[in-house]
């Protein structure tokens, strides 16, 4: 225990004195949360970009409701040729020119262009209104997109901090001989590894709490579940991801290789774990693969707690999956661990 505490204490000192790393670990998550909160706030959320040639959008307003849709960003452009070129390169989804008649251009390979075309034409088909459509609204407190995406952003930040935080440090220690020096002492690999895990885990939990409550002051997250359960999910998730980082760091001696391997792990998780969009309707294979990713379980459980007020019974499959993965990763990482090159 004395040896574990010595290494744990030294690692904490190292982290807190490394001002650049510390500030990066604190500032980056705030940037991420505020940046994405702005990008995905309903007010700022314009999905489509349409170029209007020559005239301001107000002139089009009287023509059709299409030009009042807040999901479309209308951009005034003087030169038709340049605008068409932007459509060709998917920088604009559509270009509209009004010379009495409305002319529009879309890229035949652009899905957004086709949807806009349907909306543009549909908005003029008065017969649609005659059909018997009945609008139903969803009751209860509204879950904004930012509320839905935030657990994913927090979990993604935890993932990067865990994987790169532990992976890089151990590879650097091995490369410059710190590990060899420690190997010459009675310190065991288990003591060293657990000290590194615990140090990183506590730091990540503290930083995530600071980011969560700090951001909440401005963004006012939708949080109707148990803070304790959320703490449990993030802590277990962080432990699992640190263990995964340990596998990469177990033998690697090159920071470049470690960087590549960590990116290889983190990017698929970022894409397929549902950080940005729901996996509903995705191909079965994607959903199956996602179940083997720790990030998926962290995000699913955190979203369920924050947005739906889920309890332990609803999220226990996620907790179980994270526990099993944590045990597996820690065991593999410890078995593979080498002090030296």
């Amino acid at each position: 225990m004395k040896r574990f505490l010595a290494i744990f204490h030294a690692r904490n000192i190292e982290f807190f004195r490394d001002k650049s790393a510390l500030s990066w670990n604190l500032i980056l998550p705030f940037f991420l949360v505020f940046g994405f909160a702005f990008l995905f706030s309903d007010e700022a959320r314009e999905i489509y970009k349409v170029g209007l040639i020559g005239e301001s959008p107000e002139i089009y307003d009287s023509k059709t409701d299409f030009f009042r849709l807040k999901q479309i960003q209308f951009i005034k452009i003087a030169d038709l040729e340049k605008a068409i070129n932007k459509v060709k390169h998917h920088q604009l989804d559509m270009v509209i020119k009004n010379d009495g008649d409305i002319h529009y251009w879309i890229n035949s390979s652009s899905v957004n262009g086709h949807i806009l075309e349907r909306v543009l034409k549909g908005s003029e088909l008065k017969t649609i209104a005659a059909l018997n459509y009945q609008k139903q609204t969803v009751d209860g407190k509204q879950v904004r997109y930012v509320d839905w995406v935030l657990p994913g952003i927090l979990a993604m930040n935890i993932m990067f901090s865990c994987l790169f935080g532990i992976g890089y440090v151990i590879v650097r220690y091995r490369k410059n001989g710190v590990l060899k020096r420690l190997k010459a002492t009675p310190l065991t690999a288990f003591e060293f590894i657990t000290a590194q895990i615990m140090s990183r885990l506590i730091l990540i939990v503290i930083i995530t709490a600071i980011v969560f409550f700090g951001s909440d002051l401005f963004i006012h997250f939708h949080m109707i579940g148990s803070y304790f359960l959320l703490f449990l999910v993030f802590t277990l998730g962080a432990f699992c991801l640190i263990s995964l980082g340990l596998i990469v760091a177990a033998k690697t001696t090159s920071e470049e290789l470690a960087n590549g391997l960590l990116n290889l792990i983190s990017w698929p998780m970022m894409i397929f774990s549902g950080v940005w969009f729901s996996l509903e309707g995705s191909p079965d294979i994607v959903i199956i693969i996602a179940q083997f990713m720790p990030l998926t379980h962290i995000i699913d459980a955190a979203r369920a707690i924050m947005n739906d007020g889920a309890g332990i019974t609803e999220i226990y499959p996620n907790l179980l999956a994270l526990t099993v993965m944590s045990i597996a990763f820690t065991t593999i990482g410890s078995m593979m661990f080498r002090w030296e090159r």
Partner: protein, 294 residues
């Protein structure tokens, strides 16, 4: 003195390389044992096997008659040839970190005094000079009050003053009845510090004994060095056994009195003559046929 460490037919083979090839020797308790040799001779590998850091291909290392085990790390102090310390820690914090890794430890205040670290206690270890860092690494090697201390080329890269200061430190440690195993390719260092030396080359020990014994066994002459322009004798006369160095003539003499008399009779100007005894470097070159490979 009892044998504290015994190395028996130690071998370490890597694919295509016999780094250590059947090395055997014993080390007496309280002595300073020097393992000498050029770079690549196999001395670091030998020492790291003795430390328990590297696993041997075959052979064994006995500590007080028993194979070295896990507890050996509590008994041994190690200073590697090159090592890094955890960053952002001060000298004091680094010492305390290592102190807490052992069951027993030397009194920190005493250790700080012995290794002359008192002025450096609050300094970040990244800001130490080469000599200061070596003193800290030595203090770490001694922190568990070890019976046996391994020092792998501890003065490589130090300036002459720092090196001599380090030698004084080692001498003071020897006085505490610690057994020291020192690898070096500085023969002067070995002469100064070691009670017994083993010379290694190509993974084998090619000579072992006290410096005095080895010199006596291999040499019975002294060297007289004279500037070339002062040596006006016909070199083909066969009167002297000589070797050349740029601008100098080295005369090998097994009877100094007779050689000096003969040189005087031949009217050789002896005013710039230098006479010296054979040393370990001569022995090393004699045995390995190599220059010291730095």
């Amino acid at each position: 003195m009892n044998d504290i460490l015994e190395v028996k037919d130690l071998k370490k083979h890597y694919p295509g390389v016999k780094a250590v090839d059947g090395v055997s020797f014993t080390i007496k308790e309280g002595s300073c044992f020097g393992l000498l040799g050029p770079n690549g001779a196999g001395k670091t590998t030998t020492v790291e096997i003795m430390e328990g850091i590297t696993r041997q291909s075959s052979g064994e290392v006995l500590y007080r008659g028993n194979p070295i085990g896990r507890d050996f790390k509590q008994e041994a102090g190690i200073q590697f040839q090159s090592t890094a310390l955890q960053e952002f820690l001060t000298v004091n914090e680094t010492l305390r970190l290592f102190k807490n890794l052992y069951k027993k430890s030397m009194d920190l205040d005493e250790l700080i005094g012995v290794c002359a670290l008192r002025e450096l206690l609050n300094r970040d270890t990244r800001n130490l000079s080469g000599g200061q860092k070596q003193r800290l690494l030595l203090a770490i090697a001694l922190i568990n009050d070890p019976n046996i201390v391994f020092l792998d080329e501890p003065t490589t890269g130090l300036d002459p003053q720092s090196r001599r200061n380090f030698w004084e430190l080692i001498t003071s440690i020897k006085k505490r009845n610690k057994t020291i195993i020192l690898t070096t390719h500085y023969m002067e260092e070995a002469s100064e510090l070691c009670d017994e030396v083993a010379i290694m080359d190509s993974g084998k020990i090619i000579a072992i004994g006290t410096p005095g014994e080895l010199l006596e066994a291999h040499f019975n002459d002294v060297l007289i060095q004279i500037p070339e322009e002062d040596f006006i004798i016909n070199l083909d006369s066969g009167d002297f056994k000589i070797t050349h160095k740029p601008g100098k003539i080295i005369i090998h003499s097994d009877n100094l009195h007779d050689t000096l008399r003969l040189l005087g009779e031949r009217n050789v100007n002896l005013s710039r003559m230098e006479i010296r005894s054979r040393n370990l470097e001569d022995l090393f070159l004699e045995l390995t046929g190599n220059d010291l490979r730095a």
